[in-house]
């Protein structure tokens, strides 16, 4: 039933997929981190014409499944490669989540800070860059890290549009060599080994940040 030869033969294939998994996670997290901030700021825009569509778009993206978003993007954007689409959809999907985290962080900045900025006649971009964001972002970091880990565990969805990440490779090898047991167990092990220490590390970071405040 369990053949170690399948493990040794499939390992290089699965690891090749893992490289793509990591790449997608890192790039997707960057997109989510940057886009999320932009969405959070836009969601607080003074004009309704910006605020309402942004909030509505974020709500729509948050309420629909990643897998269907991937399918839709795949068929609507034929010019983009599947990897770009994968990273883009993951990034946009998680940006919808991170924008809420940023919003909470921004809202937590005391009103007095905003009023002081008005009193000092600071230009808008200085208000954001020098006063509000540094305070808002400090506690956002652990949450962003958690979303990055979640994204890491959702990268297998990319296989449905043909991105050759880890699970795609595991499935292909498994179906060609009738070795599903070994390849899927190996894949699960790699996910666990990669994500568990990271989440423990994040939790310690979170506690340290909470204490230092």
């Amino acid at each position: 039933m369990w053949h170690w030869s399948n493990v040794t033969e499939s390992l290089p294939v699965v690891l090749r997929g893992f490289r793509l998994t990591l790449l997608a996670t890192v790039l997707g997290s960057l997109v989510a981190a940057v886009l999320g901030l932009a969405l959070a700021i836009a969601g607080r825009a003074p004009t309704r014409w910006v605020r309402v569509p942004v909030r509505a778009a974020v709500a729509f993206v948050r309420s629909t499944p990643v897998m269907i978003q991937l399918f839709a993007a795949w068929v609507l954007l034929p010019r983009l490669s599947v990897t770009v689409i994968g990273v883009g959809v993951l990034g946009v999907h998680y940006a919808a989540y991170t924008s809420e985290v940023y919003r909470a962080g921004i809202d937590a900045v005391p009103r007095g800070q905003w009023e002081a900025c008005t009193a000092l006649s600071l230009p808008r971009h200085r208000v954001w860059r020098a006063v509000v964001l540094p305070q808002a972002l400090r506690n956002v970091l652990p949450a962003l890290g958690n979303y990055a880990i979640s994204m890491f565990k959702e990268t297998p969805f990319l296989s449905v549009i043909g991105v050759a990440e880890m699970v795609h490779q595991a499935n292909e090898f498994g179906s060609e060599h009738f070795a599903y047991l070994e390849t899927l167990t190996l894949t699960a092990a790699i996910f666990l080994v990669a994500s568990y220490p990271t989440s423990v590390g994040l939790r310690t970071l979170e506690e340290r940040l909470a204490r230092s405040h």
Binding site: V75, P78, E172, S175, F178
Partner: protein, 298 residues
């Protein structure tokens, strides 16, 4: 003390737990089964009056047409099993790559998907004699902009080829010299056409029969199916003959099946009457020289 209204928390919790157990249990118990057994399959399916078949929802080999089971394999198998005294087919759909694993896991008794007979598959199951031959073809964008004809031309042209996961065309492409990096594995036939139209791949390699059916369903799509060719692997021509698949120990069923199958393949009129509407004509009838034993050896 405020009066307790309707659902107290205790009953809510115990109710939830009972519901969880009650809901999950039948699904699990009914579904949890051991795999294994002895070969009295033919006798038992005759007794129960139905045989469980598995298919991959791949037109025109075995698929659901508006809820009804249709395609070359189910139609042929219905005729064969009826002749064997088993009037009913009960079908389950799985993806192509799981057909043989699911067969061996006892999810069903026969694979009715026109599966190509390959030596590797023969190691894990037994096939009937060939039901048809189906040479490979390429679907390309209309006008054949890359001037392709067969897999060898794809290799020399350095183009991207799409194949279905776990299907034989991947091996054919690699044997023809197409680099692994240029081969895209896709999940479904429609994905192949969409990818071709979108420009993600330059050619979609599948059996000519499947591609013609796919083009028919997508009549407006700017694609065309090139004439079929016979791929060569290690010097041997691959006619991609397809057959029914049984578990390795069900030899009695396989032999009875073959007897009835032979009656149909030796009668071209009957063959075309049964499955002509799916694109199988006299050209697809397997030559008598093509035997499963030889195909399994490779």
């Amino acid at each position: 003390m405020p009066p307790t209204t309707g659902l107290s928390r205790r009953s809510l919790l115990s109710g939830a737990a009972a519901l969880a157990g009650g809901a999950a249990a039948p699904a699990l118990v009914a579904g949890c089964s051991r795999t294994g057994g002895a070969d009295d399959l033919l006798a038992s399916i005759k007794k129960q009056g139905y045989v469980r078949i598995g298919f991959a929802d791949e037109a025109p080999y075995g698929f659901k047409d508006g809820g009804k089971l249709a395609g070359e394999a189910p139609t042929l198998h219905k005729a064969i099993f009826t002749a064997l005294g088993v009037p009913e087919l009960r079908a389950s759909v799985v993806d192509f790559g799981s057909l043989i694993p699911s067969l061996n896991a006892d999810r069903f008794d026969v694979v009715s998907a026109g599966m190509a007979i390959t030596p590797e598959r023969c190691e894990n199951a037994i096939f009937s004699e060939p039901e048809f031959v189906s040479p490979t073809a390429l679907m390309v964008r209309k006008g054949n902009p890359k001037h392709l004809s067969d897999l060898a031309s794809c290799a020399s042209g350095g183009v991207r080829v799409g194949v279905l996961t776990a299907a034989v065309e991947k091996g054919y492409a690699q044997a023809a010299g197409v680099k692994s990096g240029s081969i895209t594995s896709l999940q479904a036939q429609q994905d192949g056409l969409d990818a071709l139209v979108a420009g993600r791949i330059d050619a979609f390699a599948l059996t000519g029969i499947s591609l013609k059916w796919l083009a028919k369903t997508n009549a407006d799509a700017p694609v065309e199916v090139l004439p079929a060719f016979v791929p060569v692997v290690d010097g041997k021509k691959q006619y991609s003959p397809g057959g029914a698949v049984f578990r390795s120990k069900n030899t009695k069923l396989r032999d009875a099946f073959n007897t009835e199958l032979k009656k149909i393949t030796s009668d071209p009129d009957r063959y075309v009457r049964l499955i002509g509407k799916y694109g199988f004509g006299t050209a697809e009838i397997p030559p008598k020289s093509l035997t499963t034993a030889a195909l399994c050896k490779g």
